[in-house]
């Protein structure tokens, strides 16, 4: 087995804008803001950056194709810049590119920046696009939207584990209530209002059985990281955060086209988790991972992800949710920053936003004392792009 990049790469600076429906800000504005915070945090100058990776998903809604918009916006001085796109793991892919670049020795310092400007479409929800299957989408894909695609996983989860819609929806409501609690305490979060279980349960149905509060925010935002070789990291700051694992897994078609997948979990999430735990040398994720930011695009996604990542046994997440295990003051806080649910989900920025939260928590710099998790050792981030039946999942683990 390959030896991986555990402890070979360190994050020395990060930046993240406020997320939200930022009618007065363009993608370029957001890129500048994330980058300025990031480079100031790293204590370096722009000329020190050797190469950059740039993540954006719906480029047709904002900056156009290729990587030139990052170079042009930041006035990067003729350095290599690479565009990444891999659905909701786009920013984590940018981060992966930058990490592999410094781990390989090709460069000393690399930038990863992700951005998404979603709120220029004229309608709620994510932009409609060519979809998952290219030209075949128009010809054979149903009118899937993201809420609908994930609602199908909720339907399936309820059926497989024998939950009535009422029981299932109440379990999911608790997931959202927790994230709203966390988001309300985060100045950079998009949605900053606490909600009650009853509010969640009584909200309008978006895609049965998911209601409005089961769905994450559709937001504008940008986040960035500067990475270097681990052996150089302490030159820049006393508290760099080290990359312990960085893995992705993609659907093989088995879930969508071969009748074996149970539809009540995300196979790639399970697989990417195993890859990452192997790379990081983690034996017991439930005990060893201090905290996580996972891809809670919908409440059901967070619930099954707890099982996919082996934080909860299969079919048992309900017990952990009800016990408050994943609350900010629980044994394994999940979405301390509010998650996609409340921090927001600018697709091309989300992966780096999650790492930003883990980075700040590990450094003890979670802005407000009530947000700070006590002595975290390892933080995990998880993105899932696409739909449960056909997707990509990335898992990153960072620590001190």
């Amino acid at each position: 087995m390959a030896e991986g990049i555990k402890d070979k790469v360190a994050i020395i600076g990060m930046g993240c804008t406020k997320f939200g429906e930022l009618w007065d800000k363009s993608a370029e504005d957001l890129m500048v803001e994330a980058f300025e915070e990031c480079i100031e945090d790293a204590g370096i100058e722009k000329k020190d950056i050797n190469a950059a990776w740039f993540g954006v998903h719906f480029e047709e809604q904002s900056v156009g194709k290729g990587a030139t918009s990052l170079a042009l916006t930041l006035k990067l001085p003729f350095i290599p810049v690479t565009r990444t796109e891999n659905f909701c793991a786009t920013a984590t892919e940018a981060f992966r590119g930058a990490c592999y670049a410094v781990a390989s020795g090709a460069y000393d310092i690399a930038l990863a920046l992700g951005v998404e400007k979603l709120k220029d479409t004229g309608y709620g929800g994510l932009p409609t696009g060519p979809g998952l299957m290219g030209t075949k989408s128009a010809l054979i894909m149903p009118k899937l939207t993201a809420p609908g695609a994930f609602a199908m996983m909720a339907t399936r989860y309820f059926a497989v584990y024998g939950l009535t819609p009422e029981e299932g929806k109440r379990m999911l409501a608790k997931v959202s209530v927790k994230s709203h609690y966390n988001g309300a305490r985060n100045p950079k979060a998009h949605l900053r209002r606490e909600v009650t279980e009853e509010q969640v349960l009584n909200a309008p149905i978006i895609a049965w059985p998911l209601g409005l509060f089961d769905c994450c925010g559709v937001s504008d935002g940008s986040a960035a990281a500067i990475v270097t070789r681990a052996d150089m990291a302490k030159k820049f700051r006393p508290d760099p955060v080290y990359v312990k694992a960085l893995q992705i897994a993609l659907s093989s078609g088995e879930e969508l086209m071969y009748p074996k997948w149970d539809g009540a979990h995300v196979e790639t999430g399970y697989r990417a988790g195993i890859l990452a735990y192997n790379e990081a040398g983690i034996k017991n994720p439930r005990e060893e991972i201090s905290m996580a930011e996972v891809h809670d695009c919908f409440s059901i996604t967070e619930a099954v992800t707890m099982e996919d990542l082996q934080f909860s046994p299969r079919g048992k997440v309900k017990e952990d949710i009800e016990a408050g295990r994943f609350n900010l003051d629980g044994e394994q806080p999940i979405q301390p920053d509010g998650g996609l649910k409340c921090f927001g989900h600018p697709i091309g920025a989300s992966g780096l936003r999650m790492i930003y939260e883990m980075y700040k928590q590990l450094q003890g710099k979670a802005q407000l004392p009530e947000r700070q998790i006590k002595n975290p050792k390892l933080g995990l981030t998880h993105n899932m792009g696409g739909f449960p039946a056909m997707n990509i999942v990335s898992v990153a683990i960072v620590g001190l």
């Binding site: 309608y123 128009a138 054979i140 199908m152 049965w208 009748p259």
Partner: protein, 480 residues
């Protein structure tokens, strides 16, 4: 001896009561008689219904044995791009067949049938599938609105193993200007009703029927069933009386249950007659539209071995009332409805890709791995079975005639739909294979994980800038 080898029919699930029409547009002076019409769902049209009737007709018949497909309609979605070729592709018929569109008159159904017999008799094409289907747009408030209904029939014509032999035929043609629609027009025009009834319907049908009786030296009493459209219910009986027929010989016209289905009308009635026919029965069928074609059949012993068909009767009994006239207008795109900005983002159809993928898209064919036997959709080069992975070991595998069960589903209020929520889900096919599909002809409350479904050919979208109607298959609860 040429004759009919199989039959099928299709009636859409929705019915609109004439009272609903009257309540909405009665102020315009329209005054419908009691009854209801079959109404196509928003994703149905002439071609989707023709395919559905074709599927019913070809049940348990190998598609490879069909040598031709004739489509009769007055409401063809395409003026250029052969509608019958599209239907043939959807039915997964061989490319080596003859296809033709019979259009322009409500008698086109019988004309297509006669032409199919001619072709079969000549030995050129042994088995020809005749699909007659109509889904006509009527101006809101017009008499046509409550007169017309949507439906389709299909008959497989052949020269052996027939259960009803063609015994005779006779045609008359007049440029009778009862109804017309110039190229490019959306709605038809009609001359005064009394003219259509007295100078057309009441004269032409008796003339044609009498012509046939004379030609073959027959008596009207010889027929077990007499089939001709019931545009004017009272006149329908009067014609029979004048011809010397008993009311008991008259086949029900379906006008107050389905409506007049244009080209499909006489053929749907014929299917209904065949459903009850006994060996030895003689059946006479006449159409009406710019003249009339009359055909007569004699039913053989083989009628007893006709397999399970939905035909007219089962479809008649499987229905749901459409209580909203506004929804009816929306389904037919007769009133602009707001689908939001999301709904304004159109699909542009890549036609070259559609042609390349035609068997996958239009015929719902996937592949089956010759090595491990796994069916898979859409067609794959590399087997999806993780234990197999064979490359290029695939054979075609048709899913359109397979049933399946709902693996999971949702009702999506975000997706742009004229009939929200958009219901879709994943289907596990009996015998293997899984994919996601739109669901249709169902209500969200009625869908359950594990419930059986079948596949139905539908118009999935309209690509207006390209002038393309996008068709493919959807899942639907089994309509029994």
């Amino acid at each position: 001896m040429v004759g009919i080898k199989s039959y099928g029919a299709y009636i859409p699930r929705y019915r609109i009561n004439h009272n609903t029409i009257f309540a909405a547009v009665g102020f315009l002076g329209t005054f419908p008689p009691p009854g209801e019409n079959a109404v196509a769902n928003h994703d149905e049209d002439t071609l989707s219904m023709a395919v559905a009737a074709g599927v019913d007709c070809l049940h348990a018949i190998e598609r490879e044995k069909v040598d031709g497909l004739y489509l009769a309609t007055t409401s063809q979605p395409y003026e250029l791009r052969q509608n019958s070729a599209l239907v043939a592709t959807a039915l997964d018929l061989q490319p080596s067949i003859r296809t033709a569109d019979f259009i322009g008159s409500a008698k086109s159904g019988t004309t297509a049938l006669l032409s199919a017999f001619d072709a079969s008799k000549s030995g050129g094409s042994h088995n020809i599938l005749v699909c007659a289907s109509d889904c006509r747009l009527s101006k809101p408030g017009s008499p046509q609105e409550h007169l017309y209904g949507d439906g389709a029939a299909a008959l497989l014509v052949g020269d052996e193993d027939v259960f009803a032999t063609l015994e005779g035929y006779y045609s008359v043609t007049y440029d009778f200007p009862d109804r017309w629609r110039a190229a490019g027009e959306k709605f038809e025009h009609a001359w005064e009703d009394r003219f259509i009834r007295d100078a057309g319907y009441a004269r032409v049908i008796p003339e044609a029927v009498s012509g046939l009786l004379k030609k073959y030296n027959l008596n009207i009493k010889d027929f077990a069933k007499i089939v001709f459209p019931g545009l004017y219910p009272r006149e329908h009986g009067a014609i029979a009386k004048r011809l010397g027929a008993d009311a008991s010989q008259l086949q029900d016209t379906l006008v107050n249950k389905v409506g007049d289905t244009g080209s499909a009308s006489p053929l749907m009635m014929l299917v209904a007659a065949l459903e009850e026919a006994k060996p030895g029965d003689k059946i006479l069928i006449a159409s009406f539209g710019n003249g009339s074609d009359v055909l007569f059949f004699e039913v053989t012993e083989k009628i007893k071995s006709v397999g399970n068909r939905r035909g007219v009767t089962k479809h008649l009994n499987s229905k749901k009332e459409l209580t909203s006239y506004e929804k009816y207008l929306a389904f037919r795109n007769l009133a602009p409805m707001d689908l939001g900005m999301r709904g304004e983002i159109g699909i542009r159809t890549p036609m070259s890709a559609l042609f390349r993928e035609r068997r996958a898209v239009l015929a719902l064919c996937g592949t089956r791995c010759r090595k491990c036997g796994t069916p898979q959709y859409p067609p794959q080069r590399v087997c999806v079975n993780p234990e197999c992975g064979a490359v290029d070991q695939m054979e075609w595998y048709r899913f359109s005639d397979k049933r399946g069960v709902v693996f999971t589903y949702t009702g999506d209020n975000l997706a742009a739909s004229i009939d929200p929520p958009a219901i879709y889900g994943l289907v596990d096919f009996d015998g293997g294979g899984r994919f996601w599909f739109d669901f249709t002809d169902c209500d969200l409350d009625s869908i359950k994980v594990g419930m059986p479904v079948e596949m139905t050919f539908r118009r999935r979208y309209s690509d207006e800038p390209s002038g393309v109607h996008g068709y493919s298959w959807k899942a639907t609860p089994i309509r029994d």
